[in-house]
Symmetry: C2
Subunit: 223 residues, 2 copies
């Protein structure tokens, strides 16, 4: 909620329970809500629990407007990095990936069909506020391919059998595709990618969690 208040998203209303005062920075947050003249409803802990989805809610819940962004509204400035999620299914992984993308300065994240809804409550919680300032879109391959072609953006996909990253120069405009937890990148990704890249691991048997792999790739491709 702190991150939401720092963003430009419209906040429709806020639900507050007594335990907010005991949460870290809880009383400052309560003051900030009042100062913003938002519609704040104070409810008891039981009523609050019936609205919250987590086991130990911290006592604050906000309703805000989802930004409705499309791919052609994404601004292309160099260095441009578009992260493309190709059927990444676990909400915790996707939330962690969005948090990482925001922290490492990725331009935007696009979700292809088969990826969990980026605004799923678990994804939003795991992303720790990244949604509120990191641009995200839900789109299809046709749109990605057209967008990348019209802006001169290279498309790379991550796969354990790809080229070692160290050896490859970084384009100024790049879309990076990461794939499903079990089956990796799709056939469409292989078809549309200009290059398949890999993180060197110790033995071919071992693989990395998709959120960790994405973190390493985005870090490595910042430059």
């Amino acid at each position: 909620v702190e991150e939401l208040l720092r963003s430009s998203l419209g906040v429709r209303g806020v639900l507050v329970a007594p335990q907010l005062i005991d949460a870290p920075r809880g009383s400052e947050l309560a003051r900030a809500l009042r100062a913003r003249q938002l519609e704040v409803a104070e409810v008891g802990p039981h009523e609050f629990a019936s609205a919250a989805e987590t086991e130990s809610p911290q006592g604050v819940l906000a309703i805000a407007e989802k930004p409705r962004l499309t791919l052609d509204q994404v601004v292309v400035r160099e260095p441009f990095r578009l992260l493309v999620l190709d059927a990444v299914q676990d909400p915790g992984n996707v939330g962690t990936i969005l948090r990482t993308a925001a922290a490492l300065g990725v331009s935007a994240t696009a979700a292809l069909p088969g990826t969990v809804d980026l605004w799923n409550a678990k994804v939003v919680r795991s992303a720790m506020g990244a949604h509120f300032h990191h641009p995200t879109v839900s789109t299809g391959w046709d749109q990605i391919v057209a967008f990348c072609a019209s802006h001169g953006i290279s498309v790379w996909a991550a796969d354990a059998a790809g080229a070692q990253l160290d050896a490859v120069p970084r384009p100024a405009r790049l879309a990076l595709v990461v794939g499903n937890e079990g089956s990796g990148i799709s056939e469409a990704a292989r078809r549309h990618a200009d290059r398949i890249v890999a993180i060197p691991v110790s033995t071919p048997v071992e693989s990395l969690n998709v959120a960790v792999a994405t973190g390493i790739l985005l870090y490595e491709l910042r430059r």
Copy 2:
């Protein structure tokens, strides 16, 4: 279980349910178990469910001997990388970290007090078999300090306020300390560290998940 059979750990017995045949590579695994002449008990799906802890178990469960390793049994070869977990609490994070450490060729991982038990069932599942060949120890700061001093190992700790990694030459022998999800590295870590290092992020407000941050640091410090 596949990873366990590839390791040198002693397997005491295996429980198998009919659904194993439908799991990916299930029939090969069933054959491998028979070929190894292990004690395999075949049970029905309900009986199996009462022994398994997951919601949709794949139909195989093995009982094996935990390796009992101490820090002074860890072999120091260059490049030496010891990962030190300083009160990392979430089992999913710790499992993912062990999987990453194994994949990136880390020499061993040490857990300090306050860290979740490395052999907790959730940690073992998230680590995807890393436990069976990546050396892990549970130990205290006194042991870490003595071990690092006697082997000439530099101690670095990760913190958002640390020195940017890019600028720092890598020692041949290094212990990297990562801290708690909420509060970061402990006072003891700050006292014992020769250097505090950071991953450059876009804005100081944002932070990385501890498993992602550890992945980036271990990748960056391989060289």
